[in-house]
């Protein structure tokens, strides 16, 4: 029996607002516990939520990037459950009318993509909960502590249709989503700090079947590796049960990275009844076309679209484009070099070569790289190579000096006397000197040992400390030797 997996993802992404979604507290990560809190995000009696406008703008941008339709009216709802990290005893979320619906990542839209559409069911706004601290206190054996700094951080929840079929595909999609949200500047992509989190719904069915199998929700998939491994494990577990003719139970399972397995968390019978109802403290969120249009027009380019454009516009290979866009900002560096008249091929080679190597070596980001050595400055170095003022080999050294000192390529070449010697008379004079000192080699050349020519060129270059234009040296040396014959 051949079966296939059917996978849908639920992604929670923190929005990069400076303040929380319903109060003015900071969203900065890593502050001492319970220092970014106020009566609103602590759920104090009498405190009321007020919607952060920029959280809505970020949410709209995420929704538009996923091809969703933004609802002209969406409604906040309360999701009721008890947990110590949830101060009000309910999470303000959206339920029946989310911020946006019906998005799409088209089949073959990008290098990673499956040959199948991936539909986005909905994108909605909600607040994050706080965190329980189970470790690190003297009495942690007996007590848990609550840190509510994160409570009220704005999130978008992105729900996909069950359009994914393999663990690897799901991981690729999640990777693209991360790249997209980061490119839109709505999420920092930091999975370790929990700014981006993923749950998956998995079921198994016979390959020919149109209907869906019993769905299992897998939680705690907070890295690409865990997502892929958990899904592989879960798919195999369900397939095995199907083979054995055992029923698959609708349940929520937790990925346990220590044992590399999923373990049951709660069954359907114990599923929460969240008792959703419209949030009476917040009026419906009404968005006019103009606001959505303004956000759409100011949106950065989506990575998939950008890759298509870079391929076409600069005639670059797909792999090069992927490499240019995988590290955010490299593509921008590249394009700015081209805007400063650099040859696209050369610029691409430099960015994926020296620039990327330097970023890794110096452990800096693209932004820091830019401030140390701007794309315009690097383009001017390339210009010197192209017009033959310096050799490609020398350019590597000049690049290093530019990065260290911040000086311009022109200044470095001039101050350090690196410019190639182009003057024929000067080169001829140097050749005469070399030939005078290497009579044996000259004789060997004339005796027909062609390899000696290379040795003589090397001697001339050495005499000029590499500054002579190698092509001129070649031509003039050949002419001189042949004249002596």
């Amino acid at each position: 029996m051949t079966c296939e997996a059917v996978i849908g993802l639920e992604i929670h992404a923190q929005l990069r607002t400076a303040s929380k979604i319903f109060c003015g507290c900071s969203t900065a990560f890593g502050a001492p516990p319970n220092t970014h809190v106020c009566p609103v995000c602590l759920g104090f009696p009498g405190a009321l939520p007020v919607l952060n406008r920029s959280a809505v703008d970020f949410g709209i941008r995420a929704a538009l990037a996923l091809g969703c339709r933004v609802n002209p009216t969406s409604i906040f709802a309360r999701k009721n459950y008890f947990y110590p990290d949830l101060p009000k005893g309910y999470q303000i979320s959206q339920y029946e009318r989310p911020l946006a619906e019906r998005g799409l990542i088209e089949a073959n839209a990008d290098y990673w993509g499956p040959e199948r559409d991936i539909r986005i069911t909905r994108v909605h706004l909600e607040e994050d909960a706080g965190k329980l601290l189970h470790e690190g206190f003297a009495d942690s054996e007996r007590r848990s502590y609550v840190d509510l700094n994160r409570a009220g951080t704005p999130l978008v929840e992105i729900v996909t249709e069950p359009d994914l079929r393999q663990a690897k595909e799901a991981a690729s999609f999640f990777g693209y989503l991360r790249e997209l949200l980061m490119a839109m500047d709505v999420n920092d992509g930091n999975m370790e700090e929990g700014s981006l989190r993923c749950d998956a719904n998995v079921s198994i069915r016979q390959l020919s079947s149109e209907s869906l199998g019993v769905k299992v929700e897998v939680k705690n998939l907070n890295s690409f590796r865990f997502l892929e491994r958990a899904l592989d494990y879960e798919i195999e577990r369900q397939a095995e049960m199907l083979r054995r003719g055992e029923p698959i139970l609708q349940e929520t399972r937790l990925w346990d990275s220590d044992s590399d397995t999923t373990v049951s968390m709660r069954s359907k019978e114990h599923a929460h009844d969240y008792r959703y109802f419209p949030e009476p403290d917040l009026p419906p969120l009404v968005l006019d076309d103009a606001r959505v249009k303004e956000i759409r027009e100011a949106m950065p380019e989506a990575p998939a679209a950008k890759r298509r454009r870079l391929e076409k516009m600069y005639g670059l290979a797909r792999l090069d484009v992927v490499n240019l866009t995988i590290e955010p900002g490299l593509d921008g560096y590249f394009e700015e070099m081209v805007r400063h008249q650099a040859n696209p091929r050369e610029a691409k080679n430099w960015v994926l070569g020296a620039v990327r190597a330097k970023i890794n070596e110096a452990r800096v980001g693209v932004a820091q790289m830019r401030s140390a050595l701007s794309p315009a400055a690097l383009a001017s170095l390339l210009a010197l190579v192209e017009k033959g003022a310096i050799s490609g080999a020398m350019a590597k050294g000049v690049f290093e000096t530019m990065f260290q000192s911040g000086r311009s390529a022109d200044d470095i070449v001039r101050d350090e006397g690196l410019a190639q010697i182009d003057d024929d008379a000067q080169i001829a004079e140097l050749i005469a000197g070399v030939l005078a000192e290497n009579g044996d080699a000259v004789a060997q050349y004339h005796a027909g040992k062609a390899a000696t020519f290379g040795f003589l060129v090397g001697q001339v270059m050495k005499a000029t400390r590499g500054k002579a234009n190698p092509k001129r040296v070649n031509d003039l040396l050949r002419k001189r030797l042949d004249a002596d014959r």
Binding site: P45, P84, R142, V146, D273, F277, P280, D281
Partner: protein
């Protein structure tokens, strides 16, 4: 020596120099000390804080001279947050809770010069109509101390009626300002939903909760409303609608005003003495040139069930935050597993009526029942709102008795919550529709118990009902009566 009773009288006395803010404050505190042990209107009396404030007002006369409530004592229902002053909702679960901020309405009163003399008793989390559901014991009606004062703002109503405070703030989710005002013989105003900020009001039913004043006169209510009304950036449901000049609306001229009376509704199940007083009140208005128009509110009969579905649903969610984790009461349980901490804290912290409503509301919102209860209730709520909208095409205000019966005896309905809920028949629809409504004194029973007239107006038209109420007040003197034991007051 007699003392000024109304806000306008207190202001006059302080402005003229006849009394200082400290004189007025000391007098109020003296009356509280003398009478509150018998009435139990207050959960907390803020004597020192009040005197400090009164002294500050006396010291800086230039600053406070023109403040609209300069030196006027106010009692605050214990569901409104007062910074640094314990705010309990008359619940054990909050009996030590001290808020770090002021409710917006409270802050606006203090900015206008009002002096808070204390926090008043109420039904726990404002859930009740008698102030019997208080963790700290019932409040007594000054007109008959074996009777309830109404509720849930019973402490606020009694504080005003017995002259312990010049005015008070209350909250009204289903009649909790108007009903105790009626049963205590004073004025109680529930403004339009969104007219007064709810920030700092401990939520019961968020879409039904309102903050409003309890006063001796309509003019006082208008003055307080003008201070506390207006948009608040901290309350997303507060309205940017401009605040009208309520005081200026009190012209006494109601010629041509059309007063709608839903005859079918008010002829049924109403105490005969109340019916009589209600008819007499309509005649007073008629004599001033208003016309009485028969109207229908076809869905009004559904108001109580709709109200108890919506209010309890919202309450079940609003009260989830009282979990013992961050503030307030936490049950002492060892070993402390989470579920035991939650269940014991809430079992010991909440009283029976609050538990009843949390359970009812939780039931209403259950998966699979939401459509049948909550959604259906919201649909009928829309019909009730439309009934009023249609009525207001023909009339300027709707008149009803505030309550079907006068104050009952303490303990009489404790065992019969449904009977208690039915007492809200005339008040809840204004909450469901969000309309402004006022209760004013319109008579007494033969036994000397106060009777209230309720006037309901169109959205954001507090001015109209205040004008009609004031006109009635000009030709009657019910509002001048004082409970015998507490009559050392000057009008």
């Amino acid at each position: 020596m007699s003392h000024p009773r109304t806000i306008h009288a207190v202001r006059g006395a302080i402005r003229s120099g006849e009394q200082s803010a400290v004189d007025v404050c000391e007098h109020a505190l003296g009356r509280i000390a003398a009478h509150d042990p018998a009435l139990h209107a207050f959960n907390t009396v803020t004597s020192e804080r009040a005197l400090d404030r009164a002294r500050a007002i006396d010291r800086d006369k230039a600053r406070w001279k023109d403040a609209p409530l300069s030196g006027v004592p106010v009692a605050i229902k214990d569901v409104l947050c007062t910074r640094g002053v314990r705010t309990t909702a008359s619940s054990r679960i909050l009996d030590t809770f001290v808020p770090p901020f002021d409710a917006t309405s409270v802050r606006r009163l203090e900015e206008a010069g009002a002096v808070i003399v204390g926090k008043t008793n109420c039904d726990e989390f404002a859930m009740g109509s008698s102030t019997e559901n208080s963790a700290f014991g019932p409040t007594r009606n000054p007109w008959a101390t074996d009777r309830i004062p109404g509720g849930s703002s019973g402490g606020s109503a009694v504080a005003v009626a017995a002259g312990l405070s010049t005015f008070a703030l209350g909250s009204d989710t289903g009649g909790s300002i108007r009903q105790p005002a009626a049963l205590c013989g004073i004025v109680g105003l529930k403004p339009t939903y969104g007219r007064v900020s709810r920030y700092g009001l401990l939520a019961f039913g968020s879409s039904l909760d309102h903050v409003g004043p309890l006063t001796h006169t309509v003019a006082d209510a208008a003055l307080v409303l003008s201070v506390i009304a207006g948009v608040d950036p901290a309350d997303a449901t507060s309205s940017p609608e401009p605040v009208a000049a309520y005081g200026a609306a009190l012209t006494g001229d109601v010629r041509g005003a059309r007063i709608g009376v839903p005859a079918r509704l008010v002829d049924e199940g109403v105490d005969p003495e109340i019916s009589k007083a209600f008819r007499a009140a309509l005649e007073v208005l008629g004599a001033r040139g208003a016309s009485i128009v028969d109207i229908a509110l076809p869905n009004a009969g559904a108001a109580i069930p709709v109200y108890y579905l919506v209010a309890t649903a919202e309450a079940s969610s609003n009260l989830a935050r009282y979990d013992g984790v961050r503030y307030g009461f936490r049950a002492k349980v060892e070993p402390q597993d989470l579920l035991t901490m939650y269940t014991r804290t809430r079992a010991e912290g909440f009283g029976p009526e609050v538990k009843r409503r949390i359970m009812l509301g939780t039931y209403v919102l259950r998966a699979g029942y939401y459509d049948a209860y909550y959604l259906k209730a919201q649909q009928v709520r829309t019909l009730i709102r439309r009934d009023y909208e249609q009525a207001f095409e023909r009339v300027d205000a709707v008149a009803m008795p505030t309550t079907p019966t006068p104050a009952f005896k303490i303990g009489e309905r404790v065992e019969d919550p449904l009977q208690m809920y039915l007492g809200d028949v005339f008040t809840v629809s204004a909450n469901l529709a969000g309309l402004p409504a006022i209760s004013i004194p319109c008579g007494f029973t033969a036994g000397g118990l106060p009777i209230g007239l309720q006037l309901t107006g169109p959205m954001f038209d507090e001015a109209s009902i205040l004008r009609v109420a004031d006109a009635h007040e000009r030709d009657t003197d019910w509002w001048k009566r004082t409970p015998r034991e507490f009559e050392d007051l000057r009008i």
